[in-house]
């Protein structure tokens, strides 16, 4: 027990991302409304972004921008002084792509609504079965 609590505190970022991700996954599986499913997808995406960004953190390091500025090309840069820039790069593009995919999902939902006049999954399935 004395070892368990420090482990839980030291890895709290993972517990938060798992909780958020499961909220998103549950919304995608169990919710009946298509817009709620899309919101669940976005929560899932946010959880992954949080996971990646929290991986890039280093204790005692600053943001990944050289403190010397432009004229300091000859200075030696120590990797331990800066955060890991790689997850930031991956998530930077993932956020914008996430917005774009959200747009596509909403466009599909709009088309479904204009055809079936509902966004509830069971009503759409009932209409498809009737035909």
């Amino acid at each position: 027990m004395s070892e368990l609590i420090p482990t839980i505190i030291a890895k709290y970022n993972y517990w938060i991302y798992i909780t958020l991700m499961m909220i998103g996954l549950y919304a995608m599986i169990a919710k009946n409304n298509l817009v709620k499913k899309i919101v669940g997808m976005n929560i899932f995406q946010t959880a992954i972004i949080l996971f990646y960004v929290s991986i890039g953190v280093k204790k005692g390091a600053t943001i990944p921008i050289s403190t010397g500025g432009h004229g300091a090309a000859h200075e030696v840069v120590h990797a331990a002084d800066y955060l890991n820039p790689l997850p930031h790069v991956l998530m930077l593009t993932a956020i914008v792509v996430g917005v774009a995919t959200l747009g596509v999902a909403l466009a599909l939902a709009l088309r479904i609504y204009s055809r079936y006049n509902t966004l509830e999954e069971d009503e759409i399935l009932a209409q498809i079965r009737k035909k």
């Binding site: 482990t7 030291a10 890895k11 709290y12 970022n13 993972y14 517990w15 798992i18 909780t19 991700m21 499961m22 996954l25 549950y26 599986i29 169990a30 929290s54 991986i55 890039g56 953190v57 280093k58 204790k59 005692g60 390091a61 943001i63 990944p64 921008i65 050289s66 010397g68 500025g69 432009h70 300091a72 090309a73 200075e75 030696v76 840069v77 120590h78 990797a79 331990a80 800066y82 890991n84 820039p85 790689l86 997850p87 930031h88 790069v89 930077l92 593009t93 956020i95 914008v96 792509v97 917005v99 774009a100 995919t101 747009g103 596509v104 466009a107 599909l108 709009l110 088309r111 204009s114």
Partner: protein, 275 residues
Amino acid sequence: MKIIGLIITIITGAFLVYAAVDFPAWADPNSPASTYLSPYFIENSMKDTSVPNFVTSLLADYRGFDTMFETTVIFTAGLVCFILLRISGGKEPETRHYRHVLTGVTVTLKEGRKIPASEDFERIDDLWTPPDLIIKTGCRLMIPFIQLFALYVIAHGHSSPGGGFQGGVILGASIILLAISHDLRTALERMREKVVAILCPVGVAIYAGTGTLCLLLGLNFLDYSALASVLHVDPISARSHGILMVEIGVGIAVMTTMIWIYNNISSAGKYNQGL
């Protein structure tokens, strides 16, 4: 379905928690993610590209291919929204509404009828609401500064947080703010549908074109040091300038995609809000 979903969620969550026990602790400097590849990028970014912001040099230089195809993904998403809603959707409504500007009286016309050509009538749709003067004036004052800030974010991405993606989103947001505060018609007058549809692939083409230029100058695709002979600078500064060219292309593509998606979704492909 709800119970099955809950069971699946709990099982998946349990697996993730089980896996996370072996993960390194938060903010551990010796975690695997921070020990293999990223020290090289941090230590050599200034020497290789003379860009102080490691995220920018990593985004546009070391991982240039990845970013190019991300831009293509964004362009494709905008195109899909356009095809789904605009091409197969947008039908002209049967009845048309016209508002007399001076008196505020709304006239509804059935199919086929026409209103006498006059400056006093403007066409409106079912969702039209009178624009609020305070919101309109406030947004009109804010939009130029938002756009100026966006240009700063794109151009200053080399030495401060920023770059093409962030600046492009802010630029797109300024036009979307115009569409929200006034109506879609006002925003379309400033940024026509055709302009948006042309600028979006142009942004991707600037990115791919910079890469092809490097190829034509005798080095690898997206190896910006080849631009040194064109720009008359040393190869390391040429990489920095090449990154800026690429970021401008990304900014244009992201801005137009955001506007394109908003225009199509907010009016369900009819482009009639405030018509």
